[in-house]
Every structure is written in structure tokens, then in C-alpha cells.
């Protein structure tokens, strides 16, 4: 049974990559979006852009891991293709894990491209790629689980996009990239601590610019916890809808 689930997770993700993610418009959008972000930051802050690197990577991962996934799951849910997967010898959590894995792979692809670009472009040390990839992996997993949670909570594609933006944009402004966390009012600091992007930016900051510390390990732990919690919520919601 576990073998069936593992096989199913792999092939569901592979099918989603072929059928949806690896289409030229998605890849070009995935690369253009962070490119536009870099340009915007460069115009706003022409000085040392290295401090913006963690935020750029984290935001590229956030948008690439959530955007398409929310569309894929909601669309397949609406046309019954999601049910088709559940007719196969595959449990509901495994089916959803396959969907999340698709988002993670696409997030890693786009986020990884941005990560390599900022390491090369900003002259960062090469050894930082390893810890940064670990942070990126956990960040995209948390974001992809967020995408799954958002898409099973709604019925239509446009609703998924609206709900995703409702969560993503406040995260961007509260994650510490635009305004340092310490300078936010206490209530907003508390809110920022409840959002996965904040931990992604902190972990990537440590990996790319700072010394590796226990704080980074805590950030990675928080991202893992977000991923598990959001995934569990998505499973519960989808199971209820099926019944």
C-alpha cells in the first residue's frame, strides 16, 4: 500500500509537470516575475542589493509554488479529474502529496534559478548554495502546501487566485523585506510570525548573507511545521468535501 502511494505521488507530480507546469508560458512567467522584482528593487534601492537577495529568492519561490498549483487543483477538482486519481489505488493524502510535490518541483526550478542568479550576480560565496537550497526546499514545501490548502477550500479557479493573493500580498509586506521586522508595530510583528514567508526570508538570509546559526534551524523547523499543518488541513477539507 505504501508502495502504491509512493508510486502514485511520483506519477501524479510527473503528470502535473508535463501537463501544466512545464508549459512555456508558465516557465517564462516564472522567470519574468522575479526578474521584474529584481528590477523594481534595483530602481528603488540602487546601492547594495545583496541584502535583498533572500527576499527575492523567497518571493520567487512563493509565487512559483502557489500560483499554478492553485489553478491545477481547483481546475481538476471542478472537472472531476481529481476524483479520477482517487479511483486508482492511491489514498487521498498520497494524491494530494503528489499535487504538492508538483508545486515543490516547480518552485525549486524557478526559485533555484533565481538563487543561482543572485549567488553569481551578487558575488556570494559558492558554499552558501547548499544551505540556501535546504532553505528553499522547505520554503517551497510550505508554500506548495499553502497552495493546496487554498485550492481545496474553494470551488472555482478565480476564487483560488483571490484567496491566494489575499494571503500572499500581506505576507510580502510583513516578511521583513520591505520593513525590518523589528520596526513593525508589536501586533504586526506577531502576525508576521504566523506567516511562512517570514521564516523563509530569515532562513535564506542566514544561508546567503549571515552566519549559519540555531536561529536558521528554528526557521527551517517552523517551515516544516507550516508545511505539515497546511497539508493536514488540506487533507481534512478535501475529505469532507468528498463525503
Amino acid at each position: 500500500m505504501i508502495g502504491d502511494d509512493l508510486r502514485g505521488i511520483f506519477y501524479v507530480a510527473l503528470k502535473d509537470m508535463r501537463a501544466y507546469y512545464l508549459k512555456p508560458p508558465n516557465i517564462s512567467w516564472g522567470l519574468l516575475f522575479p526578474g521584474a522584482l529584481i528590477l523594481a528593487f534595483a530602481i528603488r534601492t540602487p546601492g547594495d542589493m545583496r541584502t535583498l537577495a533572500p527576499g527575492l529568492v523567497a518571493m520567487a519561490a512563493l509565487f512559483s509554488a502557489t500560483s499554478m498549483e492553485a489553478i491545477v487543483i481547483t481546475f481538476e477538482q471542478r472537472v472531476g479529474a481529481l476524483e479520477r486519481l482517487l479511483l486508482a489505488p492511491l489514498t487521498l493524502p498520497a494524491m494530494l502529496a503528489g499535487k504538492v510535490l508538483g508545486g515543490v518541483l516547480f518552485g525549486l526550478l524557478i526559485g533555484g534559478a533565481v538563487l543561482v542568479s543572485v549567488i553569481a550576480g551578487f558575488g556570494l560565496e559558492g558554499w552558501r548554495l547548499g544551505p540556501a537550497l535546504a532553505a528553499l526546499l522547505l520554503a517551497t514545501t510550505a508554500f506548495s502546501a499553502l497552495g493546496a490548502f487554498v485550492s481545496v477550500a474553494v470551488q472555482e479557479v478565480f476564487e483560488a487566485q483571490t484567496l491566494a493573493n489575499f494571503i500572499r500580498f500581506p505576507m510580502i509586506f510583513l516578511c521583513g523585506v520591505f520593513v525590518p521586522l523589528a520596526e513593525l508595530p508589536p501586533a504586526l510583528q506577531l502576525l508576521a510570525r504566523a506567516l511562512p514567508l517570514t521564516y523563509s526570508v530569515e532562513a535564506l538570509h542566514a544561508a546567503l548573507l549571515g552566519p549559519l546559526s540555531w536561529q536558521m534551524a528554528l526557521d527551517l523547523g517552523a517551515l516544516l511545521a507550516f508545511a505539515l499543518l497546511l497539508f493536514a488541513l488540506a487533507v481534512v477539507i478535501l475529505r469532507r468535501r468528498m463525503d
Partner: protein, 309 residues
């Protein structure tokens, strides 16, 4: 021994959507068995509980109450093992638009654990059998409705299931596609595949099914062979005659308690009116007659639904 165990055994199967006491009762304590190798029809109007029953038997939704065994295995305990031996053709086309016909079949083979070396040949065999070979590289979205339906059946057969659920397989198909699909279903019966077929086309059930359950508002109101159901409404006999006289031809029906009585009435009428008998037919009850008699519904309810033919 295993072959003597029914393909499906259902006891008190119930599904209620919404609150336990006041929610919609979609299936109400259904009891039935489907024998191995038979084509079993589940016949009823829209909303009767046909699709909900299939959804429960394939694990898509959990029953509120009751038990079900599929291929001898308890549905609540062995769902993954059951799924490996069962194929399902849902009512709506839900294969993957972006994948080609062949890639959809390969993907199904991957999900069901068909060995890698067998996937391609099995997909090709099914494409030939369902006359889709020429369209193997066409995206699912671009196939005609009949081709989509045929590919859905092919996709459900990739892993060689022993039991096939077909939910309204010919809804929305043109006459030629529907006929072709029915021939395929008949072919499956010959291969020993058990078929559980839901339909609201009375003539389709009449032609394909060994036994039929009539379901109305979630309750099974009758279950028998097609002939058995017809026999239940066989009250007397009807003889239809084409009669000719100097004023022209006419068709007349004569009813009696059996064929002999009805025929005597017909002959007496022809003689008294001085008419010539041109043709004589005895009319048998149809499944439609049985449906009307046993469900209290009008056959038009079934015909006018889902673009009925």
C-alpha cells in the same frame, strides 16, 4: 471457490448527505448482489441514487451506514486492494485534456502499477481495440465526444480489472457511438468481466443486462432478470392485427387472459367485420412496461433526462 463469491454484496447500504437526521437520503438501505461475469443494470431516473451507489462502491465517498463487499473484500477495510481490481468509467469525461490519448492510457497504467514493459503494449492494444489508434497522439481535449467516451472505457481497462463500473456510458453520444460502445460492453461480458452499469435508457438495460435493479428515490424497488421483470407485468396477452377491407387497412389490438383467448377475439372480429387478416403479431411486455408498473413512474421521465434518446 473464489468465483462463487459474488462480485458485489451490499447490505443496508445507506448514504445521507448533510445532517444525520434531516440530510438528503441519497441511497436508502440498499441490498443487492452482483454475480461474477454478469452485466448488472442499475436503472432509475436522475437523482435516484445510481451515481452515489457507484461512488460508495468505488471508495469516493463513505457510506453513512451498511456494509459492502467487493470481489469478496470488505470495502471499509481493503479499499486499496479492491481498487486494483476495479475499473471505473465515470459519467463525466475526466481524463487529462493536455495529454494525448496514448499518454492518458500510459498514465493510468502508471497509477495502477502496470509494469513499465507492459504499459506501452497494453495502451497500444486498447487503442487498436477501441479504434483510436489513428488518434493516439491527439490531445484528449480535441477528441470527439464518442472518442472521449471510448478512451474513458479504455482507460478503465488498462490494468485488466475484474469488475467494471460504467456510469451512464452512452449519455450524450450519437446513435453510432452509442451502438459501438454497447458492442464493446457486450465484448467485455464475453471476456468474463463483471459489469455494473447505471443507465436511465430502458432499451439499453433491456439489451445489455442480465439482471436489473430498479432504483427510485434511493430505494431499490425491484431486482430481477430482465425477463423476470417483464414477467411481473405479464397480465394477459395482446395480439396485434393488420386488417384490410374495402375501406382500407387498419391496425387493431386485442387483449385476452392468454394468447389463445386474444387470438380468438381477433379472429371473431375479423370475421364479423368481413375483414381480411394481413398480419398477426403477439405483443410482449417491454422493460418499459415493467418499469412503469413497478416504479409508478412514467417512462417519459427517463426519456427526457440527459438528452435521452
Amino acid at each position: 471457490m473464489a468465483e462463487s463469491i459474488p462480485a458485489i454484496e451490499v447490505t443496508g447500504l445507506t448514504k445521507r448527505y448533510g445532517p444525520l437526521q434531516t440530510g438528503l437520503l441519497a441511497v436508502d438501505h440498499a441490498d443487492f448482489e452482483v454475480q461474477r461475469g454478469e452485466v448488472f443494470g442499475f436503472l432509475g431516473p436522475n437523482g435516484a441514487g445510481k451515481t452515489t451507489t457507484i461512488r460508495m462502491l468505488t471508495g469516493l465517498t463513505r457510506p453513512t451506514d451498511g456494509q459492502a463487499r467487493v470481489l469478496g473484500l470488505d470495502l471499509s477495510r481493503y479499499l486499496p486492494r479492491i481498487k486494483k481490481q476495479v475499473g471505473v468509467v465515470p459519467e463525466n469525461s475526466n481524463l487529462y485534456d493536455e495529454l494525448s490519448a496514448r499518454d492518458n492510457l500510459i498514465f493510468m497504467g502508471q497509477l495502477y502499477g502496470v509494469p513499465r514493459r507492459d504499459r506501452g503494449p497494453r495502451a497500444d492494444e486498447l487503442l487498436h481495440r477501441f479504434r483510436l489508434w489513428e488518434r493516439r497522439d491527439t490531445r484528449f481535449a480535441r477528441l470527439s465526444r464518442g472518442m472521449k467516451r471510448a478512451l474513458m472505457v479504455a482507460a478503465a481497462l488498462v490494468h485488466r480489472p475484474r469488475l467494471l463500473f460504467l456510469d451512464e456510458p452512452t449519455v450524450g453520444l450519437d446513435v453510432v457511438s452509442a451502438r459501438s460502445l454497447r458492442a464493446l460492453i457486450e465484448g467485455l461480458r464475453e471476456e468474463g468481466v463483471t459489469v455494473f452499469l447505471t443507465t436511465h435508457y430502458l432499451e439499453e438495460a433491456d439489451r445489455l443486462c442480465d439482471r436489473v435493479a430498479l432504483i427510485v428515490q434511493g430505494r431499490i424497488v425491484a431486482l430481477d432478470t430482465v425477463e423476470g421483470l417483464k414477467a411481473r407485468v405479464r397480465r394477459g396477452a395482446t395480439v396485434k392485427m393488420r386488417l384490410a377491407s374495402s375501406s382500407g387497412e387498419e391496425l387493431r389490438c386485442f387483449h385476452g387472459e392468454d394468447v389463445e383467448v386474444a387470438l380468438r377475439l381477433a379472429l371473431a372480429h375479423a370475421e364479423s367485420e368481413g375483414q381480411q387478416i394481413m398480419a398477426v403479431n403477439t405483443l410482449q411486455p417491454t422493460l418499459e412496461d415493467a418499469f412503469i408498473e413497478l416504479t409508478g413512474l412514467r417512462a417519459e421521465v427517463m426519456r427526457t433526462e440527459k438528452g435521452g434518446r
